[in-house]
C-alpha cells in the first residue's frame, strides 16, 4: 500500500467514522450517507494539510469523488 493510499484511507476512516471505507474501496460514500458537504470540506482540508494537494471546492464534483477508489485516482492525477 502506498503512503498516499494509507493517508487517504486513514483520513476517510476518521471523517466517515467507519473502517468500511478501507474494506470496500468501491463503497459509494455519498449514497451511503457516510460523506456529506460538511464531510467533504473536512476531507479537502485534511488532504491539503497532510498531503499538500490543494483541491478547489468547485473541483469537487460528487460523481467524480464518489468512492475511496475514485478519490485516490483524482489525487494521484494531481500529485
Amino acid at each position: 500500500m502506498t503512503t498516499l493510499q494509507e493517508t487517504v484511507l486513514t483520513i476517510l476512516e476518521t471523517i466517515c467514522e467507519t473502517d468500511a471505507v478501507r474494506e470496500d474501496l468501491d463503497l459509494h460514500l455519498f449514497d451511503e450517507g457516510l460523506l456529506d458537504s460538511f464531510g467533504s470540506v473536512a476531507l479537502l482540508v485534511e488532504i491539503e494539510s497532510q498531503l499538500g494537494i490543494t483541491v478547489g471546492i468547485s473541483d469537487f464534483d460528487r460523481d467524480q469523488w464518489a468512492t475511496p477508489q475514485l478519490i485516490l485516482e483524482r489525487l494521484a492525477e494531481r500529485q
Binding site: S40, A42, G56, I57
Partner: protein, 382 residues
C-alpha cells in the same frame, strides 16, 4: 411580458423555433438566428417598461465588465482583498434593488430575474478565484448570462456545464432525444402550472372560507399553498428546462419529489435544487472550509452549524427583506441543526432503526414540518 405565463407565448415560441428544430436535426447551429431570437425574446420580457429595459441593459454591461475585469486581473494576481472587492461590486446592483425599497424610497430600478442572474456572475468570479476556470471568454459568459429560457427564475446553471453544451453540437439522434425530452417537460409543465396549480389556487386558496384567519382555514391554506408553490414553480422549471433542451442546453433539474423527503437534509437535496446546491457549494462549503482551515473555531460541529445559519439566513434574505422570509430562513437552519444532532445521537444509540414504519413516519413528519415552513414563507401569519 413574463415568459411562460400564457399559451400564446408557447405558440409563438414553437413557431420561432422551427428553424432551430430543423437545424438541430441536421447537426447544425444557427448563430445569427439564435442571436436574433435572443434579442427578440429578451425584448419581449423587458421592453414593456423603459426603465426595466434600461436597468437590464446597464446591469448586463456592469456584470460582464466586472467578471471580465476580474478575469484579466486574476491572470497575474490573486489578492484576497481584490477578490472581495469584485464580489461586493458584483452583488451591488442586487443589494441596491433589494435595500432601496426597504427605506420606502420609490425608484424604478430593477428588473425581472436580477437575483438569478447575480448567482451566475458570482459563481464565475469564485471559480476564477479558485483557478478552476482558466479559459474564460467574454462571449461564452455573455451567452450564459443572456440565456433567455432561464432568464426570469432559473434554474441556475453552472458556467462550466453550460459552456460544454453550448460549444458542442449534438448528433442527429442526440438532438431528437433532446427534442422529445424537452417536449415532454413542457407538457409536464402545462399539467403542473396551468392545471394543478391554477386549480388549487382558484378552488382552494382564493375561496372565502380559506381566506378566513382562524385555525382550520389556515391549516387548509398551509397544505394547499405548499402544494401550489411546488406545482407552480416546478411547472415553470419544466418550461425553462424543456425550452433549454430545444436549444441543446441540458439545464439542471430543480425538483425531485420534494414531498417524499425522509428528512430535512433530504428535502434540501430535492427542493429548488439549483438554488440549494448553489448555496451549498458557494456559501456553506466555503464558509466551513475557511473556518476549519484558519482554525478560528475549534469545534467542527459549531462551524457547521454556524455555516447553516449563514446559508439559510442569506437564502431567506435573498427572497426579500421581510420578517417572514428571515424567520423562514432561521426556521430551516434550526431544523437542519436539530436533525443533525438527532442523527448523530442515533448513530451512537441506534434507537431509530431503518424499517418501513420508521420510513413512513419520517415522511409524515418531514412533510408537515416543510408545510409549516411554507406557511411561514407565505407571510400569512405575520
Amino acid at each position: 411580458m413574463t415568459p411562460y405565463t400564457n399559451i400564446y407565448y408557447f405558440i409563438v415560441l414553437v413557431f420561432l423555433f422551427i428553424p432551430i428544430f430543423i437545424a438541430g436535426l441536421r447537426e447544425k447551429k444557427l448563430p445569427v438566428y439564435s442571436f436574433v431570437l435572443t434579442v427578440l425574446l429578451l425584448s419581449s420580457v423587458y421592453l414593456s417598461s423603459l426603465t426595466e429595459f434600461l436597468s437590464f441593459v446597464c446591469y448586463i454591461i456592469w456584470q460582464i465588465g466586472m467578471v471580465s475585469w476580474y478575469h484579466f486581473y486574476r491572470k497575474t494576481n490573486n489578492a484576497t482583498s481584490i477578490f472581495y472587492f469584485f464580489i461586493f461590486f458584483t452583488l451591488l446592483p442586487l443589494l441596491l434593488v433589494k435595500v432601496i425599497p426597504f427605506f420606502h424610497i420609490h425608484t424604478m430600478i430593477g428588473f425581472l430575474g436580477i437575483s438569478y442572474l447575480t448567482f451566475k456572475s458570482v459563481q464565475v468570479i469564485i471559480d476564477l478565484r479558485d483557478g478552476t476556470l482558466k479559459d474564460y471568454r467574454l462571449f461564452d459568459f455573455a451567452s450564459f448570462l443572456l440565456f433567455y429560457p432561464t432568464i426570469s427564475s432559473g434554474p441556475i446553471d453552472r458556467f462550466k456545464r453550460f459552456r460544454q453544451d453550448f460549444s458542442s453540437i449534438p448528433t442527429k439522434d442526440e438532438y431528437r432525444s433532446l427534442f422529445f425530452h424537452g417536449t415532454n417537460k413542457i407538457f409536464q409543465g402545462f399539467l403542473y402550472k396551468f392545471i394543478i396549480a391554477s386549480l388549487l389556487n382558484a378552488n382552494v386558496i382564493q375561496t372565502l372560507y380559506v381566506q378566513e384567519h382562524s385555525f382550520l382555514p389556515t391549516l387548509i391554506y398551509m397544505y394547499a399553498y405548499s402544494l401550489y408553490l411546488f406545482f407552480d414553480f416546478a411547472g415553470y422549471s419544466c418550461f425553462a428546462i424543456g425550452v433549454s433542451y430545444y436549444l441543446g442546453i441540458k439545464t439542471p433539474e430543480n425538483f425531485h419529489l420534494p414531498f417524499l423527503s425522509r428528512n430535512i437534509k433530504d428535502f434540501w437535496n430535492r427542493w429548488h435544487m439549483s438554488l440549494s446546491f448553489w448555496f451549498r457549494d458557494y456559501v456553506y462549503m466555503r464558509f466551513v472550509f475557511l473556518f476549519t482551515k484558519k482554525k478560528w473555531i475549534k469545534n467542527r460541529y459549531t462551524v457547521s452549524y454556524l455555516g447553516y445559519f449563514v446559508l439559510f439566513l442569506l437564502m431567506g434574505l435573498w427572497h426579500g427583506l421581510a420578517l417572514h422570509y428571515i424567520v423562514y430562513g432561521l426556521y430551516h437552519a434550526c431544523l437542519i441543526i436539530t436533525f443533525d444532532l438527532f442523527d448523530r445521537w442515533n448513530k451512537k444509540h441506534k434507537k431509530w432503526k431503518k424499517n418501513k414504519w420508521t420510513y413512513g413516519i419520517s415522511l409524515f413528519i418531514t412533510f408537515h414540518v416543510i408545510c409549516f415552513g411554507f406557511l411561514l414563507f407565505s407571510g400569512r401569519l405575520f
